[in-house]
């Protein structure tokens, strides 16, 4: 006889799960009782939101499904932001929540919330399991759905009596799950690929626009091969950073609102845009009518609903990016020289490099550059959301996929620190840095306790400007410097870290940056650096909301 809880834990292990992130409570007591003598590692977070973000960070760093666990009601509700974050960025996680016993469902029982209802719009799918007998196959389906096609979060809600009930249960043989309502297209349509190849051969000024789909599909190699075979420049979205090495000659860096000038100019001037694993998000396109106005568009994506959603496409190719690119590479024969186009782009690159003022003041961009130089493409960089995120995206040289972890679509402040914890469990031998702002860090600062207790060696670099910097920047530029509720009081983060048992250091000058970063890396455990940076530094270049992407302000 096995209880539902035992089936759950065994089922997780059969899916290859080794670590889960969670927080106990009343209705998950049977599950926690099972965890008590299980070999499954459970990391106790200090807030359920952090469990969801940690599962997400684990998934992004590893490419595997991350798992989090919370109790009913408030526990489940606290997962919501984390689940929505994973949904927006197509990250595979399975969130398990306890629920009140089936006899009390719908009764407004203690700590009851309709979490399947609440998460309906932010999960790829969700389940309320009403019979212990269903638990095994629901878990199997959940992992299958989360980790295939366009990946995403799946929630499983388990009432207490379902996890408590013992039944006769043997796991069926592991075979491929088959769902009649879910059959993602993996192979791209051969004729569409032919058409795309032909269109590429006709182009004079092509640009590849690559996004998170390339990372999710583990297709970086194919992307670089395509760029090199065609001799075509590549710009990536925020989510696509790392898909092509930053210092690759064909890399144009990020495009969009805080993209490089040369990337935005190239997209505006190109006559063929090859979108790969992207969704033409408003932060990328700016004003839609003026986005790539001269270009024919090829769009490769696993999700048919993304094709034509925002921008009309000439050649849609539905399929897994890796598979489509492999098929495409096999079909590309003649190489065309785009010398004129490439030299024009080179001219923009030379004329409009990313730059900031180097006057000895401690500026955030300098810190990111120093860290980038120190790690040389090793390690995993996680960010919070806001200016810290954009400076990292601009100034950190990413060389490999899955080394850049950030909340792109939802833009969740407080994401970085717990996601960094998750990334550590995915890649325990890598240095993991969370590049934070003082605002974002304080949104999940309680996790200092988790990293201290579990000796999770996450390093936090706080770009402390005592502002909610990105909002302040908008207030400066568009609201006549009325800094409405964006100034934060000073916090001594070293003292806070020390109080939790975490080492830390404060840095106030440029000379101290490198030694502090080295000290952080050399310390075995977690480490916090409180960088007191220039307070009113702005992220430039910038495309004002709703403007065309070639209408940028700042350099």
């Amino acid at each position: 006889m096995k209880t539902g809880a035992k089936i759950l834990i065994e089922g997780l292990q059969r899916e290859g799960v080794e670590t889960i992130f969670g927080y106990p409570g009343g209705v998950v007591l049977p599950i926690y009782d099972e965890l008590y003598h299980s070999s499954l590692q459970h990391i106790l977070v200090r807030h359920e939101q952090a469990a969801a973000h940690a599962a997400d960070g684990f998934a992004r760093a590893s490419g595997r499904v991350g798992v989090c666990l919370a109790t009913s009601g408030p526990g489940a509700c606290n997962l919501v932001t984390g689940i929505a974050t994973a949904y927006m960025d197509s990250v595979p996680i399975v969130a398990i929540t306890g629920q009140v016993p089936t006899s009390l469902l719908g009764n407004d029982a203690f700590q009851e919330s309709d979490i399947t209802g609440i998460t309906l719009p932010i999960t790829k799918h969700n389940y309320l399991v009403k019979r212990t007998e269903d638990l095994g196959h629901v878990l199997r389906e959940a992992f299958f759905i989360a980790g295939t096609g366009r990946k995403g979060p799946v929630l499983i809600d388990i009432p207490k009596d379902v996890s408590n009930k013992p039944i006769e249960y043997e796991f069926p043989e592991q075979k491929q799950v088959s769902l009649r309502g879910y059959q993602p297209t993996v192979r791209g349509h051969a004729k569409q690929i032919d058409k795309a190849v032909e269109m590429i051969s006709e182009a004079e000024r092509p640009v590849i626009y690559a996004g998170g789909g390339v990372i999710n599909s583990d297709a970086s190699q194919e992307l670089v091969a395509l760029a090199e075979t065609l001799m075509v420049p590549v710009t990536t979205t925020l989510m696509g950073l790392g898909a092509i090495p930053c210092d690759h000659p064909f890399n144009l860096g990020m495009l969009g609102m805080h993209g490089t000038r040369y990337a935005n100019y190239a997209v505006t001037e190109c006559d063929l845009l090859i979108g790969i694993g992207v969704r033409f998000d408003d932060r990328v396109t700016g004003k839609l009518d003026t986005f790539a106005p001269h270009a024919r568009i090829v769009h490769i994506d696993i999700d048919p609903a993304e094709i034509g959603k925002n921008k009309k496409v000439d050649i849609p190719i539905v399929g897994d990016v890796k598979s489509v690119l492999q098929d495409m590479l096999a079909k590309i024969q003649k190489k065309k020289a785009y010398d004129k186009w490439l030299s024009r782009i080179k001219g923009w690159k030379e004329k409009y490099p990313l730059s900031y003022k180097k006057d000895g003041t401690l500026r955030p961009q300098f810190i990111v550059e120093q860290l980038s130089g120190l790690l040389k493409g090793d390690g995993i960089i996680v960010s919070e959301v806001g200016q810290n995120q954009m400076w990292t995206a601009q100034y950190y040289c990413f060389r490999k996929p899955r080394t850049w972890i950030t909340s792109g679509g939802l833009g969740t402040m407080g994401y970085g620190f717990p996601a960094a914890m998750g990334a550590h469990f995915a890649c325990p031998d890598e240095v993991v840095f969370d590049i934070a702002g003082d605002g974002s860090f304080q949104m999940n600062i309680q996790e200092l306790s988790t990293v201290a207790t579990n000796k999770i060696p996450v390093k936090v670099a706080i770009l402390n400007n005592r502002f909610l910097g990105m909002v302040r920047q908008w207030q400066e530029l568009f609201h006549d410097r009325r800094y409405s509720y964006t100034e934060l009081p000073p916090v001594d983060f070293v003292k806070v870290a020390n109080a939790y048992g975490v080492e830390g250091i404060m840095v106030e000058s440029c000379e101290e940056v490198l030694p502090a970063l080295k000290a952080a890396i050399e310390t075995d455990g977690p480490f916090v650096i409180d960088f007191r940076v220039e307070r009113e530094e702005n992220v430039f270049p910038m495309v004002p909301a709703g403007a065309a992407i070639n209408e940028m302000i700042g350099s």
Binding site: T116, L120, H125, L128, R180, G181, Y182, P304, A305, G308
Partner: protein, 167 residues
Amino acid sequence: MKPHTLSVLVENKAGVLSRVSGLFSRRGFNIESLAVGTCEEPDMSRITIVCIGDDAQIEQVMKQLNKLIDVIKVSDLTDNERVERELALIKVAAEPGTSRAEIMQLATIFRAQIIDVASKTIVLAVTGDTEKIDAMEKLLRQYGIKELVRTGKIALLRGTKTVKSTK
């Protein structure tokens, strides 16, 4: 912008209707009518949805519906030969006297059934396409409609063609 009739085959499971209807409200799509019921397969249901939008919007509606795990098949019947029916039950004021006879005459013309007769009211059941029911309703207004209820539209393709699970 024209009304489209979508036939949606779904798993017959708890919560499927809220997944479908939630998607419409969340993404800002308009539902004109929706009818759901069991179908020829015991473990599936068929939903007929009438929604208004341009071609790009309808394409997006169908793609988003297809993404739902519990949705098995989505078909747009709009440009196909099809049969469509709605049902309305209409309770009309009918004091004994001339109006009662007139209402019964109208019912005959519209092939409506009189399914309840009471001292002051008559209930008519009328089936047909949307226009026919609209016309009937308009004509009955002069007598005083006490209560009216309509189902959403249901539709099938004409001939041998069907909307079925591909498996």
